[in-house]
């Protein structure tokens, strides 16, 4: 090995690095935190922060309004359940966030062709999509769970007895867990569609079109199926098309509080569970495959 006999230093102007080097896991962690920051536009100019800040405010707004409403009404009852906060109020905002920010994590590096610079460093191929997935998963958690926590804090501060607060906390936990499922499915699919193109506009379009189109189709078919006769099956299965309706179907299957975007799937709930796994695997697996094939030329 020529490690110690090549480095003849003739000029003290160049300093070699003798310190510790990070391992693979630590490099992945560094890439993850870098990507998470860029998901919210940190480390970029003011322009990059506009969409993330606006969508974050928009997604939290109903929770804040709810806190005010809880404080004002005499019974101090929460106007919306934790598990339907997103599907009933904020899907549009979430799609806008994904369409705008997922390309920031993956499409930019494709566009500037700097992936070979990553792959020429001591990480493996799979580490790059993995770091991006973890980062976008964390970003989605922030977008999904923070409003729920605001909703909780806004309600709980108006409650007086310990049992009331405990009751409130018990209502929150399924909402938070469901939020994790949302983040997991959406981060994979969002990044996968965003990584189709290095052109930011195309990447944004791919994400937005996929989520809007499937959602519209699922809603439309569900409504048609609601008709007088023979539509029951269509109505129950149409929800399998869109990740959002699948997530809502799973919510109801697992005992969600109220009727949601799709009719309660009942015995077909297992299909929704299955489709949930399919979306998860397609998103995460698809992204990893995408980066195994990406060119380094």
């Amino acid at each position: 090995m020529s490690a110690d006999n090549v480095g003849v230093i003739h000029n003290i102007g160049y300093r070699s690095y003798e310190g510790a080097r990070l391992g693979r896991a630590q490099i992945v962690r560094a890439l993850t935190s870098h990507s998470l920051r860029s998901a919210f536009g940190f480390g970029r100019g003011a322009k990059a922060k506009i969409v993330p800040v606006l969508t974050f405010v928009a997604i939290c707004l109903p929770a804040i309004v709810s806190a005010v409403a809880v404080a004002l009404n005499s019974g101090h009852t929460r106007p919306i359940s934790y598990d339907v906060y997103l599907p009933q109020l904020r899907i549009f905002v979430l799609i806008v966030f994904m369409a705008a920010q997922a390309p920031d994590l993956v499409s930019r590096d494709l566009r500037s062709h700097c992936l070979p610079l990553y792959f020429a460093r001591p990480i493996e191929r799979i580490d790059y999509p993995l770091a991006k997935l973890i980062a976008f998963f964390a970003a989605m958690l922030v977008m999904i769970e923070v409003p729920l926590l605001l909703l909780y804090v806004g309600t709980a501060t108006q409650l007086h007895t310990g049992s009331q607060i405990w009751h409130e906390t018990k209502a929150l936990i399924p909402g938070l867990l469901l939020g994790v499922a949302w983040a997991a499915v959406l981060c994979g699919l969002g990044l996968l569609f965003a990584s189709f193109s290095g052109r930011r506009a195309y990447a944004t379009g791919a994400v937005a079109i996929f989520f809007f189109l499937t959602l519209t189709l699922a809603t439309l078919l569900t409504n048609i199926g609601d008709g007088p006769k023979g539509g029951q099956v269509l109505s129950k299965l149409a929800g399998l098309i869109s990740p959002f309706t699948v997530l809502d179907g799973v919510r109801q299957w697992l005992g969600g509080t109220t009727q949601g975007m799709v009719p309660n799937p009942g015995g077909d709930g297992v299909l929704y569970g299955l489709m949930f796994v399919v979306f998860l695997v397609v998103g995460v697996g698809g992204l990893i495959l995408r980066y195994r094939k990406v060119g380094v030329a």
Binding site: N5, V8, I9, N11, R21, A30, R44, G45, S112, I123
Partner: protein, 330 residues
């Protein structure tokens, strides 16, 4: 600097090679052979990797880094096996790609710092080394500007800085002078030479311009069609590729006969005669022959070669020479 390079080369000849390849083969889509059983050893120091476009230079570099898998054969870099020890190789190797690879909307400092982190440097060390590397390549206040505002020359420097940031023992530079004007080229070559001699970092510099890299390299590896054409010290290589083109207004045949008598091997080439140089004395031989015959000299040109010329199928002196079976440039 020349003596420096020579001295360094002399001390390094006895050392372990930094790169070895053994029957390395890369086939694209089952048919195109980018590398064909390449066996070569690259010593420490600055080595030029020359060949025409498509000779397999970039493919070799990418296999060494583990960016591409080899179809068959084996290679080592700094004593680590390509493939199984790829991450160790990449820890100690810096890579400057041929193509544009910089995002336009971040500053050079941010970008190089981030890639320093990706090379395994802790946050503070990455910042320090990014500033150092950018200073070494000659970017000072500009480094706080977005890369999109840079000239091609500055972008090439950023590409070099990001390769240096991880304190590599070996740099793999793929066409570092691509897209630069003559002044930019010579500045980049000076920089590369300085990194090789002053910083003591071994380098493999891929280029299709032999004339360019021969000034700064100790060794040379020439590829042609994915095969090793020749690997040697730079001095022995360039001697074999120097030619003298002689054009006279009349009496070309007489001159050819006279030159043959005097031990040179002239070949008809375009409108003149081509002789392979045999050291500086060849100039004297040609001068004396012309003077003795009293021929009107039209043109006397000392030709060094662009490698693509040297290897291309037509129009090259080397091919003309080979076709006549007079000399073997290999």
């Amino acid at each position: 600097m020349t003596t420096h390079t020579v001295a360094q080369a002399a001390t390094q000849t006895a050392r372990q090679p930094v790169i070895t390849a053994s029957k390395l083969t890369k086939t694209y889509q089952g048919s195109v052979r980018a590398l064909d059983e390449l066996t070569v050893a690259v010593p420490a120091g600055v080595t030029a990797l020359v060949g025409a476009n498509g000779a397999g230079k970039s493919t070799l570099i990418k296999i060494l880094l583990g960016l591409l898998p080899a179809t068959s054969g084996a290679a080592t870099v700094l004593g680590f096996a390509c493939g199984s020890q790829g991450s160790s190789i990449r820890t100690h190797t810096g890579y400057m790609p041929e193509h544009d690879c910089l995002p336009p909307d971040v500053t050079a400092t941010e970008f190089v710092t981030h890639l320093g982190r990706m090379s395994g440097l802790p946050a503070t060390a990455a910042k320090e080394r990014a500033a150092d590397s950018l200073r070494h390549v000659g970017l000072y206040e500009e480094r706080y500007r977005q890369i999109g505002t840079y000239s091609t020359g500055m972008k090439q420097r950023v590409k070099l800085a990001q390769a240096l940031v991880g304190d590599p023992q070996l740099l793999l530079l793929d066409e570092p002078t691509n897209g630069l004007d003559p002044a930019g080229r010579s500045a980049m070559l000076d920089l590369i030479a300085r990194i090789g001699t002053e910083f003591g970092i071994s380098m493999l510099v891929a280029s299709h311009l032999l004339g360019e890299v021969e000034q700064i390299c100790d060794h040379l590896v020439a590829l042609d069609g994915g095969r090793l054409l020749r690997a040697d010290t730079i001095s022995s290589f360039t001697r074999a590729s120097e030619f003298l083109l002689i054009e006279v207004d009349e009496g070309s045949d007489l001159l050819a006969a006279e030159l043959t008598n005097r031990g040179l091997r002239p070949v008809d080439y375009q409108r003149g005669l081509l002789v392979q140089m045999d050291g500086e004395s060849s100039f004297d031989v040609v001068r004396d022959a012309l003077a003795d015959l009293g021929l009107p000299l039209n043109r006397l040109e000392h030709r060094r070669h662009r490698l693509e010329e040297l290897f291309s199928d037509s129009g090259s002196e080397a091919v003309a020479y080979e076709a006549k079976g007079v000399a073997d440039v290999r």
